[in-house]
Amino acid sequence: MLSRVAESLYWTARYMERAEDLARLVNVHSNLIMDLPRSVELGWEPLIAITGSEAPFAKLFGDEMDERNVTRFIIADRRNPGSILSALFMARENLRSTRDLVPREGWEQVNDLYLHARQELKGGIAKRKRYDFLRGVIQRCQQLTGLLAGTMSHDEAYEFIRIGRNLERADMGTRILDVRSEDLLPHRAEDLTPFENIQWMSVLKSLTAYQMYRRNVRVRVRGSDVLRYLLQDPKLPRALLHCMSEVEACLHDLPRNDGPLRSVTRMKRRIQEANVPELAESGLHEFLDDLQVELSRLHAEIANTYFLLDRAA
């Protein structure tokens, strides 16, 4: 399999996952704002912080982080390289050059989703239609995942798609935890007000993990339990540990995997060995920061091994 193609598939998967995660994030945040009492001042800033796009946002909108600007920026703005529309565009561009490798329906799906989104988002999106639109994006992204799982040969090309998807998922997961913990962790772990409960629920919901949490953890929604679940659960698709296990499994089936495998194993160990109750009290931000650095190292390791092969020759 061509290095260039592996790289494109990897990025296609990352961008599709990014679009899906962003859609989910905006929806959950909208709900959270509706649920919180008026006295709690939760604005739209966290979405900008999670996506790490403070600078590009300020350049376009100044410091007006209101609902209209933020949602527009994150959903529909092509000037924001991290918007849903940009992610869909980039997924399509990457897939375009590799569409001889994915089943034809996969390309049709991505192409159609981008064209649909561009059409729907002409001149922004009305608040009333936002939920339906975002739900549509999530569904179609998941449809693609299912379509590829069900029709594409589970060969190397597929492994690169899985790696891209899981790395992006892990990346977004750590960002969500990081920002949410900033404004959510009150250092009063035992003092559960109903609203904190709602906030932690929103973290779970951002990662579509609420229902699974109730089923598997069976305790009230509490900070450190949520953290442990989202970081260390081996079975939850969006838990960090699970994402890394997926990447590890994919790498096992690829040639010349020594370097990347070492990185992912080191990363898994860090996650498993983390003392979560302690982290919930202090040091979570630093811990997640470290994981982010490790994630970008893992990406670099994969890129150097498989994508940048001998390019100087």
């Binding site: 399999m1 061509l2 290095s3 260039r4 193609v5 592996a6 561009e93 375009r96 050059s97 590799t98 569409r99 001889d100 490798l101 034809r104 390309w107 049709e108 192409n111 159609d112 064209l115 190397e156 690169f160 690829l254 040639p255 010349r256 498989y306 092969l309 001998d310 390019r311 020759a313």
Partner: protein, 488 residues
């Protein structure tokens, strides 16, 4: 109001489907009958469904504009063009004969040049050919074949006969649209396919792959076949990707390939470097190898010509094959057929005046208002003079160009291109001009597409069928009326 074939009048032109108002040709009877059974709304529904299918399937071509390149949905007309099977068989024989002679010509040109020595083909034309590659002299490609894939453009004149307008021997494109058009039509008119003997077209990718694989320099192994594309911004990228996918071949760009010191070609893969045996290249000669040709080319692969000349990789079409893809050389193809094969041409050329010849040039200059003048080495309909429609000033300017460089021009009478029923901008059926591009594969055997790509000028009265200049396409049906289908 359903279609009233009595109201459809192609006038003085030969029409592919209708012989006279109200009377469809035998092979088109079934289609015309079924189209008549559709109301206007139903017909529009079918058209919209086809358009949607094209958009969703992502069948696009790229148009270059000042603002960058734009992907456009492929313009498609849902009324097919029909050719009776018996007529097609004869056309196929003519194409096979023609391409055989062309390959013998190219091989001769890069070896003994017998045809020049025997004064059948003028030496000066060869000397001034833009597509002759000195780097190819003496090379022995597998089976002595240079033009493995040829796309010849056929047109039909008022007399109802096919003529060859040109042979594309460099990187002819369009075959993927031929295949996709059939795909769309099966979605659009499934019931018609059930009731007619429409010959299938989808063998092409398998035949192409077999031909390419047979060229491998390492026949004992399972050959690694690749399609070399200039990349996603090329107007035919869709086709490159499509063919690679249909053949199960790797779609590569120049930057994916490397020629190492052993003069072999390798591609960069996740496993490391992998040897490449056959390259179906969709890049023009001059961009293939910056070591030999255009040193600024970033599309090609340094050392590729070295590897090819050493026989370590097969290229289709072979570099230099374009020497026969020249509108002046075209004029000599009937002579080549007589010279190499000792046969009379089955398919005729359009009468052609070669400005290189003084007498013919004089005639051309005296009759510019009646002729179409074309430069020898342009494609896509660029740089032409349509004499009958041009202004006096345009003709005078062009005459000056011809005098300055007569070798570069040929002239042909304006052929009255045949028409075929097409849905116009108002949803009505109207005659529009068409041509036909079949594709000929030459390897151990010769294979010709069933029909080919029918291109249609979508504007009323227009002869310009190029997709880059407002043309569209149609599905082409070779219909066998002799055999009855079950229940048909």
């Amino acid at each position: 109001m359903p279609i009233d074939w009595k109201q459809y009048d192609p006038g003085k032109f030969y029409d592919e489907l209708i012989s006279s108002p109200g009377h469809p040709r035998a092979a088109a009877r079934e289609l015309c009958k079924r189209l008549r059974q559709l109301s206007d709304e139903e017909l529009m529904e079918r058209r919209d469904a086809a358009e949607l299918a094209i958009l969703v399937m992502g069948i696009t071509f790229t148009v270059y504009t000042e603002g960058g390149s734009i992907d456009r949905a492929w313009p498609f007309d849902i009324i097919p063009r029909i050719i009776p099977a018996r007529e097609w068989q004869k056309t196929e024989a003519g194409l096979a004969q023609r391409v055989q002679a062309l390959n013998l010509f190219i091989n001769d040109i890069y070896h003994e040049q017998r045809i020049v020595k025997d004064k059948v083909f003028p030496e000066e034309i060869l000397k001034t050919s833009g597509n002759f590659r000195a780097e190819c002299v003496g090379v022995e490609p597998p089976l002595g074949i240079w033009a493995h894939i040829c796309g010849s453009d056929l047109i039909r004149d008022n007399d109802g006969r096919f003529y060859v307008l040109e042979d594309n021997l460099r990187v002819p494109s369009g075959v993927s649209y031929m295949l996709e058009n059939r795909h769309v039509m099966k979605r659009t008119f499934p019931e018609i396919f059930e009731h007619q003997n429409i010959l299938p077209v989808d063998d092409y990718p398998a035949q192409l792959f077999d031909m390419l694989a047979s060229m491998s320099p390492r026949p004992q192994d399972y050959p690694v076949v690749t399609v070399l594309t200039p990349g996603i911004y090329n107007s035919a990228y869709f086709e490159h990707a499509y063919l690679a996918q249909q053949m199960g071949a790797e779609l590569v760009e120049g930057r994916d390939l490397v020629v190492t010191e052993d003069d072999c070609v390798y591609m960069r893969t996740v496993e490391g470097l992998t040897r490449v045996d056959v390259i179906y290249r969709r890049i023009d000669d001059l961009f293939l190898d910056p070591e030999v040709f255009n040193p600024d080319s970033v599309l090609g692969v340094p050392g590729l010509m070295r590897a090819w000349r050493a026989g370590n990789v097969a290229l289709a079409n072979a570099p230099g094959a374009g020497v026969a893809d020249d509108k002046v050389v075209y004029a000599y193809v009937p002579d080549m057929i007589r010279y190499y094969l000792d046969q009379e041409p089955i398919l005729d050329n359009v009468p052609t005046y070669v400005c290189h010849d003084e007498k013919q040039c004089e005639y051309v200059l005296d009759n510019l208002d009646k002729l179409v003048v074309k430069p020898a080495n342009e494609s896509g309909g660029y740089g032409m003079l349509m004499g009958p429609q041009a202004s006096r000033k345009e003709r005078e300017d062009f005459a000056e160009q011809i005098r300055r460089n007569p070798r570069n021009f040929i002239a042909q009478p304006l052929i009255q291109l045949s028409t075929t029923p097409t849905i116009d901008g108002h949803g009505k059926v109207a005659p529009r001009h068409v041509d036909l591009r079949p594709f000929i594969l030459s390897g151990q055997e010769t294979n010709i597409t069933t029909g080919g790509l029918t291109r249609v000028a979508l504007k009323s009265g227009s002869y310009v069928v190029n997709s880059s200049q407002g043309g569209g396409s149609k599905d082409t049906w070779i219909v066998d009326t002799a055999k009855k289908t079950i229940g048909g």
